[in-house]
Symmetry: C2
Subunit: 505 residues, 2 copies
């Protein structure tokens, strides 16, 4: 008998033939129970088409495990043993909340989410998917937000490569850039069997999730969204439940999965708060690993104090001020703040998609120094209508080049992340979240945003020797500004986007 092994936080998949008569998606159920010394987890399996049923499990501990499969049909019954090995070098487990406002992998390694958004990169041709993966790696993004369902929106009126349900879509040849809104959020003209998910759609997504995992990128899965002409945003409750259960059963065992209940939840006009709370309940009950959970707004924030929400996923509400509210949001919600939409670098007609690279990077830093985690996005017009924000592919802007530098600065903060001091009115000052570490290291990261001082004066105490560095956040340089004590001056180049980093010697 073959020795069954999996690494800790790896994915164990049991694959078995089973009952297929009638509608295997709704007529039968299958469950797996996984028992090790430190956990005892029961998960639902799912029908993967072609007569095959699957059950997936992500072990949280190493050691000897036993599994038992049962179901509403006799063929489901089976059991066995497997061994969970120590994780391989680049496997740190799923990302968890660390402290009140930050993140760490399950093995304790700090994680600073600096992500991007490519809503339907998975629905593109293979060559573009490969290109997207290369771009993500080059930019050092460590999280990407994307949709499970296909997208109907400006610059994205084509058909996806697959649909999440069996059936045929409406005739999209009638769509134009002017009339596409009229079809948004409607089901008319489509013929999908909402009792029969399309395994091919989800198998492909899994390949993409795994490809992300292989390059160290978290997959922030948007389970529902309003950019829809196929009726998937206005399905009846039973179809929603089937969809949610299917999604959870398939994806929850991937360690790099995060759950975003919706993008712009408030634009899903067919859904109520009761619906969202219901999906959240389904998720909490059926994801035994407790992956991160959030819900993203267009205008009104969801109540991020709800217990099931692990972190704030925020789209800024104000055209002019956004990342600058990060510290207020941290305090209001007592959770990590991820700025999943602070507008995009680009040049399209919409105000959310035509920032300069400089303004985008300024927003990154405003958010980061205040103890939050900014997200990137990019919308540049091009003859092919391939925009990173929707399709992935190549990055054209300037801000993505500055993500790795910010990541390195954050990784250099003592402890797990920053919080913002109520400092001078005209600078932001981030210090280590842990007060003891802040005191011991004297670490202070001052950011001057759009302002361009020629110098700044400091005085903390008269005895300690400090070390000052000037950080040019745009040109990505760190310049030694020497040791200093008492009242001291740091000369600055009178350019915007500068920071000063102070540490005790």
């Amino acid at each position: 008998m073959k020795q069954l092994t999996v690494e800790r936080w790896g994915l164990l998949e049991l694959s078995l033939p089973g009952r297929t008569g009638g509608n295997p998606f709704t007529d039968y159920e299958i469950r797996g129970r996984f028992t090790g010394e430190k956990e005892d987890v029961t998960v639902s399996g799912f029908y993967d088409g072609n007569g095959i049923w699957k059950i997936r499990f992500m072990p949280s501990f190493s050691g000897a495990y036993r599994y038992t499969v049962s179901g509403t049909f006799a063929e489901a019954e089976s059991s066995g043993f497997f061994t969970v090995m120590e994780p391989s070098a680049r496997n740190h487990g799923p990302v968890r909340i660390a402290g009140e406002h930050h993140f760490a992998y399950a093995d304790g390694t700090p994680f600073y989410p600096l992500g991007t958004t490519c809503y339907v990169w998975t629905q593109q041709p293979d060559s573009r998917i490969e290109e997207t993966l290369r771009s993500l790696k080059e930019a050092r993004f460590n999280k990407i937000r994307f949709c499970i369902l296909p997208k109907h929106y400006d610059y994205n009126l084509g058909e996806p490569r697959t649909y999440p349900f069996e059936g045929t879509p409406m005739d999209s040849s009638v769509l134009t850039k002017e009339n596409f809104w009229e079809f948004t959020g409607k089901a008319e003209g489509n013929h999908f069997d909402l009792t029969r998910p399309n395994p091919a759609h989800f198998q492909h997504l899994e390949k993409c999730i795994l490809a992300l995992q292989n390059i160290g990128v978290e997959a922030d899965l948007i389970v529902m969204h309003p950019y829809d002409r196929w009726g998937f945003s206005c399905m009846p409750r039973e179809a929603d439940d089937l969809y949610w259960r299917y999604v959870i059963a398939r994806f929850a065992a991937f360690r790099n999965v995060w759950w975003s209940l919706a993008n712009e939840y408030d634009l899903l006009k067919a859904k109520t708060e009761e619906d969202w709370e219901h999906y959240a309940d389904l998720l909490v009950r059926n994801d035994p690993y407790g992956h991160l959970r959030s819900i993203h707004n267009c205008i009104p924030f969801y109540d991020h104090t709800r217990p099931w929400i692990t972190h704030c996923s925020i789209q800024r509400q104000d055209l002019y001020r956004g990342a600058e509210y990060t510290d207020e949001w941290r305090e209001r919600y007592g959770k990590p703040v991820v700025l999943d939409e602070i507008a995009y670098e680009g040049n399209i007609q919409h105000g959310w998609g035509n920032l300069t690279g400089e303004e985008m990077v300024r927003r990154f830093w405003e958010g980061a120094v205040r103890g939050g985690y900014p997200g990137h996005g990019e919308t540049f017009l091009n003859p092919e209508d391939i925009l990173w924000w929707s399709h992935g592919g190549k990055l054209h802007g300037e801000s993505w080049k500055r993500i790795g530098f910010l990541l390195d600065v954050l990784a250099g903060v003592p402890g797990r992340g920053l919080r913002c001091l109520p400092a001078e009115w005209d600078s932001v000052c981030g210090v280590p979240e842990d007060p003891e570490l802040a005191e011991r290291t004297g670490y202070r990261l001052y950011y001057y945003s759009f302002m361009r001082p020629s110098f700044r004066d400091f005085r903390f105490d008269d005895s300690t020797l400090y070390h000052a560095e000037v950080i040019d956040t745009w040109n990505m340089t760190v310049t030694d500004a020497g040791d200093c004590r008492g009242r001291f001056r740091v000369e600055l180049p009178a350019r915007p986007y500068m920071a000063v980093r102070i540490t005790k010697r």
Copy 2:
């Protein structure tokens, strides 16, 4: 007998010898009554030193007038006749409120205040004063805010050329850039006789006011301010009253005078709201011409709904958002909004004084398109420590060069000014304040601020022929974008700071 004449809104000055024994500033009074067909005005005169008393009058109508002087001493009695001629070509009279939110000269000519601030330009050597006047003219500023009293502040620790009262100041050799705050708002070490104004101080200011008048610049006089080490910001009530009455008697007859009760009123710790209301009462009672009246804040706005306040003089309260609130302030106060401090272009250490030219001009436009009137300021370090914001002199920045262009755009708005439509969320749209004119001309001024769309689509109606122009607010170009009807697209260069102007053909 010599024929006495003055032009309408000119300044008639009666100068006569009078009682000088004791303290002429407090022991005697003198009044003039000026009677024409359409007005009958009584004003207080003032002692101008050297045995001379003066009474000043600004006639609001042309025609035959009679004057009568009386006082608490016999020598004061006199009377006579004079003729008020029509105003000369460049004399449009004092500036008044026009409609709810705009300004016009007394003769009806629209006035669009685009001013600057040079707090103590009058206290500089003559050569610099001349240079300031040349700079104002070149930049086409039409208003300047400045102090009557001397200024004690960073970059401005020297002695003024004159003091407003007789006496001797504290020893300023003890001052440093670090310790000057400790002397702020205090009177210790000074020996001024607060019952004896120094006429030379005010005579010099009058020369400056007149020089401004000659180049078409309004003098926004800051009567009180907190940047003081001589005790003038914490005088007792009797001294304040003497000062206010003296100031009003001397300056009110200059047609280009505006009254700013204070700069950063809330930093004058010795003064209460009751004090400000008292000064306002003095002003309303003693300025028969009703010059414009405002009061400028550091943090909390004064209650601009108070009836004596003619327009809001606003310093922005938020580091990130300022001019963008203009339309809200207009609505809240129902008065014109003058943005007398939206931070300065420059490179000094303080966040209020180190904007880029681009950001400064962006704020101008945000304020202007929303129907307000932005103010300029400039704070560039230089070896001589001569900063425009305080000393006047030369302009070093980039934003001042764009004032005239904005002025021309505003002058091209049908009627007297703009109001802001509740337009698209990602653009500001100014239309003529007068709804009938707005409808008839179809005039719309869209501003895109920091955003950089490659194009914008419009559709107002399907029959009217419109004309579109692209305005580059930074490069100061207006480019014809052709005639258009129905749904149309205006191509833009995907650069920030662009505007689109639409008018009916």
